[in-house]
Symmetry: C2
Subunit: 365 residues, 2 copies
């Protein structure tokens, strides 16, 4: 069907080996034949067959990215970054969706390695440590966003302890003392670390940790709904909720909408990881940004390094990418009942606050 190296060689009246050497630019052919062959190849429209080449060389020029889903904006960004970087280097990205499901992850992993991918960036479920570890002997692997504790794979993580700390501190500085936390599964790195950041900020401010204010659950909108209901039904509900579980955000919003809770007047809301529309939402939603773009870039850097310099076990195994707070309009200053903290007023004067309340009422419809 398509033009093969043999065709090119025949047309040029040289052997296939010479053709190969000329076209791959090994420098083992004379300048003249090289140029002649490149010309002929171009004229014939020759395109090397990566499959055949791969069989011989053991490389596929395929790099896989395995994420949980594509609804999460961070994963979207990462996919786009990884794709762009790899493409520039002549690799094709294989984007796989694992659904945070260990079985699917395991399946996909074997398929990928079967296909002799040259490298893999994976957001691990954390349940396939042994498999990942074994695979890492065959192919360079970099973990992203989550660590798989059963492995010692090179891992690029968001600075979740810091991010959660920053977010919590922000709320504290606004005068909140009862801060609800909705967070991810505690058997994941990110879940645990965000909780720890939250706790640290509380401790620093001498606020007692109240376990009834903490809701940990799966990475699903439903978790947010359940959590929000639980928190809001408390005898003494929180004045702010920190949704440190990205997927849960929609669930929380649903509940506040259902109950006509005005944000930020009745409740301050701080979320984790951006979504493109947070900025346009009214009120615009404040977030802790996990730096998805940086994470992806660093992961690619590390992977390329491994693919290039060998897949050995070198020194650094863990990289952290800084988180930062993006203040928008979903958190408000509250009148600190007793505390003597210096509180620069940040939210607009009462007029606006009143307007906001009525907005909340109108939303009842």
């Amino acid at each position: 069907m398509s033009v093969t190296l043999k065709d090119v060689a025949q047309a040029a009246r040289v052997s296939v080996s010479t053709a190969s050497r000329a076209l791959t630019g090994t420098g083992l052919t004379s300048e003249r034949t090289q140029q002649r062959l490149t010309r002929i190849a171009r004229e014939l429209g020759y395109r090397p067959n990566p499959i055949a080449r791969g069989l011989k060389t053991g490389q596929s020029r395929l790099v896989a990215l395995l994420v949980h889903n594509l609804t999460n904006a961070s994963f979207q960004v990462m996919a786009e970054v990884v794709q762009a970087r790899l493409k520039a280097l002549g690799y094709q990205m294989l984007l796989c969706i694992g659904g945070d499901d260990p079985e699917q992850e395991s399946d996909t992993l074997t398929t990928l390695v079967d296909h002799r991918i040259d490298g893999l960036i994976v957001v691990p479920t954390g349940k396939n440590g042994p498999q990942l570890k074994a695979l890492a002997n065959d192919v360079p692997i970099v973990c992203l966003v989550r660590r798989d504790d059963a492995t010692d794979l090179e891992t690029v993580l968001a600075d979740d302890p810091q991010g959660a700390y920053l977010g919590t501190r922000h709320l504290i500085e606004l005068g909140h003392r009862r801060i609800g936390l909705i967070v991810g599964r505690q058997d994941t790195t990110s879940g645990r670390e965000r909780l720890s950041g939250y706790v640290r900020a509380l401790r620093e401010a001498d606020i007692a940790k109240d376990d009834t204010l903490i809701h940990a659950g799966h990475f699903e909108p439903e978790t947010g709904a359940t959590g929000a209901r639980k928190l809001l039904d408390l005898p003494h509900p929180p004045s702010a909720i920190f949704v440190a579980n990205h997927e849960a955000t929609l669930g929380v919003l649903r509940v506040t909408a259902e109950r006509n809770i005005a944000i930020p007047d009745d409740l301050s809301l701080l979320c984790y990881e951006d979504m493109p529309w947070f900025e346009w939402h009214r009120p615009a939603i404040s977030i802790v940004d996990n730096g998805a773009r940086d994470l992806a870039n660093l992961a690619v850097d590390r992977l390329l390094h491994r693919m290039d310099k060998g897949n050995g076990k070198d020194g650094v195994r863990e990289y952290r990418v800084g988180a930062r707070l993006i203040k928008r309009d979903s958190c408000r200053q509250i009148d600190a009942p007793t505390s003597g903290k210096s509180a620069k007023p940040k939210s607009p004067p009462s007029k606006s606050s009143a307007a906001r309340s009525s907005a909340a009422k109108s939303a009842k419809v």
Copy 2:
């Protein structure tokens, strides 16, 4: 490194060919050897090398999906559907992001075909017709969402004329006479067809088409912003805007927010294609749903058919998937100034309306 067929054959003391036949289940081996070999293969952890197999058979068990981006919720859904369907059949999905950029599309296409993909579902930019057409000889291709007019490829389209018609009619039924339209590039099928649906609804209602109310532009948020400004700055601005260009939605929202325009009180807003958060937005945004899931499923059906039954030029070249209207809260009934149309009041009483206006003001901050 890994276990090859040869190893299995040796362990079983048969020839490689027998091993191959036994394991691929050709039925050309005795029941006994077949079972024995499967057992041994399993024990040894043999996994066939798709590269080697591909070289011989010309198949890769790779199917590519080429979309513009991953921010568009429709593409997300499609990617997930396609991935799930293909995986169940033992194919790996290659997800590629083309950015609606002809050059990138062209690049990606050649790479994909080089990699001997078994099938391709593509949302074409429309600028690489000849190439697509040529490629279609080598590999089954199905176009999705957009048609490439320079080809006669099998294409699965949303019913955009109908969708735009439904949306526009909805607004008309609510009493709107001046309806702004923000729509995509007119050199794309979807762009043209949505415009035509809009026009048809207008004509049916005996409303004169006013070109100043129509803004066509690129598939980008910026288009929405520009369009919204243009429309709102009109001496006699529209009472409703139909954003029939999904990507433009955020831009429109930005402008309405900037200008404190209350939706739906000051302006009714109807959008095209869902986003997961439209439902949670206040007001929840009414949309015309393009049926992304159905589109993807149908595209997979058609592709599998081609891969299975041969890649010939059969009868039907174009499939349409119905659109439907999803009413939420961003469009309101307006007092028809003169028209005698029967108008069941749908929007809440004035009290709420007033509240909503003040909500708009509060958003100024």
